[in-house]
């Protein structure tokens, strides 16, 4: 039974409507982020409480407060002379007419008429808006104070790049695991995870220090763990599928360009890289540069290429840093890109663990290097698919952490991730960006992110950048700033019909694992049945 809260007294479409609370409803029971339905004359509106305020009918009351210690007086005044008010942002209409039954809830284009009744949204209402868990929809959490499941449409989700934001310690990692599991379970896309802190592939730890299982343990047949640091993986008893080694010959001048900030290179040094690459060839320029001695030959070479001595030293220092990375070899025995693509083609999800190499230089270098080649491959295949009318490659979601290092305004235009965020949707490659400083990400990239999932953010600039371009943003701002620091997230964008605050689904208990695997098993069974059918055709 839905509970009546009050009536609409004023408002506008852009700013939302004011609701005066009935005397029976206490302001203290209200909460920002809760859902309400408004019964208009012809339509039902679905909205969210974005503010709660207090009002008095006569200003004198606030100047000379009445004696509220007397229960009689306070009871009389409550709801008459003094009242609570809600600010509600209507988001959808969920009327029961034919069009809305077919097309589902529609965005609001008007406001309810004066004095329309406002009720707390019932479970059915929420279910109607966010749908039930099914083959495409993944249950991510429940709304505040409700048991209804809120589901993300994963098929829609992977069509765009997505972002998970939040201060550190607010549950980004858990949310990411959930999303990845969702994608695995529903099989909507294959994932390539650049796992900086080695917490997605094998087990990770919750903040209380409890061990939590990760992807490979839950879906052993669908996940391959690649590692850069064999030793660390072995110590953690992770069964790895492949040890990634990268040859110098695979590092291209562009890769160095991206590392400019982390390696502290000057603009001139980056230019020098291109010159050296032209001189020695793309494949062996690093090796050649590193083996340059201090002799006259080198000096002559530098003069010929008009590279200043200080520039050369600067570059050399940077390259030495790279050389110290143990997973880099002068010549790699295997081709990691090829291996990753093989796995991805089989529908396996790849988690690349960085082990001890958590410094940002290694992360940026490897992530960029691999992604650029995978991107090129996907592009080629997609073009081929279009040209030859064959099935396009599986949608690929690339997960990157510390995204502001790749996507900040200075490098976003150069990195492959910037390109993917902007245009790769067409080539079936999208990003899952995880970051704690969204303000550091280029505006252009931010604007292309389809679904944003944000945990608590309290920096003004971060909040602004996450909410840029969203309707009702000042209202959402108050919701976002008041999220609890754990297990709560605001989701808005492409994959949900309206912004929603969720208490994220439990992760870490045996029961939760069963829930994840159960969903996955049906998929596997279905796949098996399909295979059998095909076999007998």
């Amino acid at each position: 039974m839905s509970q009546r809260l009050g009536i609409v007294v004023s408002g506008s479409l852009t700013k939302g409507v004011e609701v005066r609370l009935d005397s029976s409803a206490s302001v203290e029971d209200m909460a920002v982020g809760r859902y309400v339905t408004i019964e208009g004359e012809r339509q039902r509106f679905f909205g969210m409480i974005t503010d709660v305020s207090l009002g008095v009918i006569d200003q004198k009351l606030s100047l000379i407060p009445p004696d509220v210690s007397d229960p009689f007086i306070s009871e009389v005044l409550a709801g008459t002379s003094t009242y609570g008010a809600l600010h509600v942002l209507p988001m959808l209409t969920i009327s029961g007419d034919v069009t809305s039954l077919i097309e589902g809830p529609q965005p609001v284009k008007t406001v309810p008429s004066h004095f329309s009744a406002v009720n707390l949204a019932s479970q059915q209402d929420v279910e109607l808006v966010f749908g039930k868990e099914d083959e495409r929809k993944f249950y991510i959490g429940t709304p505040l104070d409700m048991e209804t499941k809120i589901c993300l449409n994963l098929e829609e989700l992977v069509k765009r790049s997505n972002g998970i934001f939040g201060k550190s310690g607010t549950g980004k990692t858990f949310l990411t695991r959930l999303l990845l599991i969702g994608m695995l379970q529903k099989g909507t896309a294959v994932n390539l995870v650049f796992d900086m802190h080695s917490e997605y592939g094998w087990e990770g730890r919750s903040e209380e220090g409890r061990k939590v299982k990760a992807l490979k343990q839950l879906f052993p047949s669908k996940v391959a763990v690649f590692t850069l640091d064999e030793e660390s993986s072995r110590r953690r008893r992770v069964s790895t599928d492949f040890v990634v080694r990268i040859g110098y010959d695979e590092i291209e001048p562009e890769d160095i360009g991206l590392l400019r900030q982390t390696l502290n290179l000057t603009e001139a040094s980056v230019q020098a890289v291109y010159q050296l690459a032209r001189e020695f060839g793309d494949k062996r320029w690093i090796e050649a540069t590193l083996s340059l001695g201090d002799g006259d030959e080198t000096k002559q070479l530098l003069t010929r290429l008009s590279i200043h001595d200080s520039t050369y030293r600067n570059l050399r220092r940077g390259l030495e840093t790279i050389r110290r990375l143990p997973f880099l070899l002068p010549c790699s025995p295997d081709n990691p890109v090829k291996r990753i693509l093989e796995y991805l083609d089989e529908g396996m999800n790849v988690v690349l663990e960085f082990g001890r190499y958590t410094d940002i230089t290694a992360y940026i270098l490897v992530a960029n290097l691999l992604t650029r080649r995978i991107h090129a491959q996907y592009r080629e295949r997609m073009e081929k698919a279009i040209g030859e009318d064959i099935a396009p490659p599986r949608p690929l979601v690339i997960t990157i952490e510390e995204a502001h290092k790749f996507l900040n305004p200075e490098v976003a235009s150069q990195t492959i991730f910037g390109t993917i965020a902007r245009e790769m949707r067409k080539y079936n490659v999208t990003l899952l960006v995880i970051d704690q400083r969204p303000s550091g990400i280029d505006d252009e990239v931010m604007s292309q992110i389809g679904t944003k999932i944000t945990c608590l953010l309290d920096n003004e600039r971060d909040i602004d950048s996450v909410l840029a371009g969203v309707s009702g943003r000042s209202e959402l701002k108050s919701v976002l700033a008041r999220l609890e620091s754990r297990q709560q997230a605001l989701i808005f964008g492409h994959a949900v019909p309206m912004p929603v605050v969720v208490r994220t689904r439990e992760y870490g208990s045996a029961e939760s694992y069963r829930g994840f695997i159960a969903g996955g098993e049906t998929e596997i069974r279905k796949q098996a049945e399909k295979d059998i059918e095909e076999l007998w055709e």
Binding site: D58, K60, L61, I64, P66, V76, T80, S81
Partner: protein
């Protein structure tokens, strides 16, 4: 209708109020109580707002007589004519009327007639009448020799006694008043202070 409840007779009437004289000296209905009188088919409801006991003749004031008497009752016993030389009368503000079975909380088309009998209302009638608080609007908008706040408070106190849950009745009435007196918090406060239990 029982004779017991008959309290007097209309001796002065206008559209908005009527004055009645009591049959017995001092048998006045309490301040704020609901009384009614009949005008042909219409029953008029009034709320007692004022009462007075005066000499029968306007020019002659009573004199003090008790100097040699032992008690106050003894004065009346030794001078039985006093009961006939004095009279009690009360004024009632018309707050509604009943035509047939329908109750209206606004002024009747005709004022009461002189010599109409005035009755105190039975608890059931009071209850029925106080289902709606529209009469409060009439009360707070009149000018009276007594303070309106006093009268409103007295009538609500009277009415609350016939309800099963007096507290709920008073809270509901208070809320109505809070809306009517939205800009006049001091008046509201005065009334609320007088009706809280």
């Amino acid at each position: 209708m029982s004779e017991v409840q008959r309290v007097g007779e209309v001796i002065e009437a206008s559209t908005t109020e009527f004055v009645a004289q009591c049959y017995e000296l001092y048998q006045l209905p309490p301040l704020g109580s609901l009384v009614k009188t009949r005008d042909e088919s219409v029953e008029l409801y009034g709320i007692v707002y004022n009462a007075a006991t005066t000499s029968l003749e306007p020019g002659r004031r009573p004199i003090a007589r008790g100097k040699d008497e032992a008690s106050e009752e003894a004065i009346y016993q030794s001078s039985p004519q006093l009961l006939k030389l004095l009279r009690s009368e009360f004024g009632a503000l018309v707050v509604g009327h009943k035509q047939g079975d329908k109750l209206f909380h606004y002024l009747p088309p005709q004022p009461a007639r002189i010599h109409s009998f005035v009755y105190r209302c039975e608890p059931e009638e009071v209850k029925e009448f106080s289902q709606s608080f529209d009469f409060l609007n009439v009360l707070i908008n009149t000018r009276l020799p007594v303070s309106v706040e006093e009268l409103v408070a007295a009538s609500l106190r009277q009415m609350s006694q016939v309800h099963e849950d007096p507290h709920r009745f008073l809270v509901a009435a208070g809320k109505e008043l809070a809306i009517l007196l939205s800009g006049e918090f001091n008046r509201l406060k005065a009334i609320l202070g007088r009706i809280k239990e």
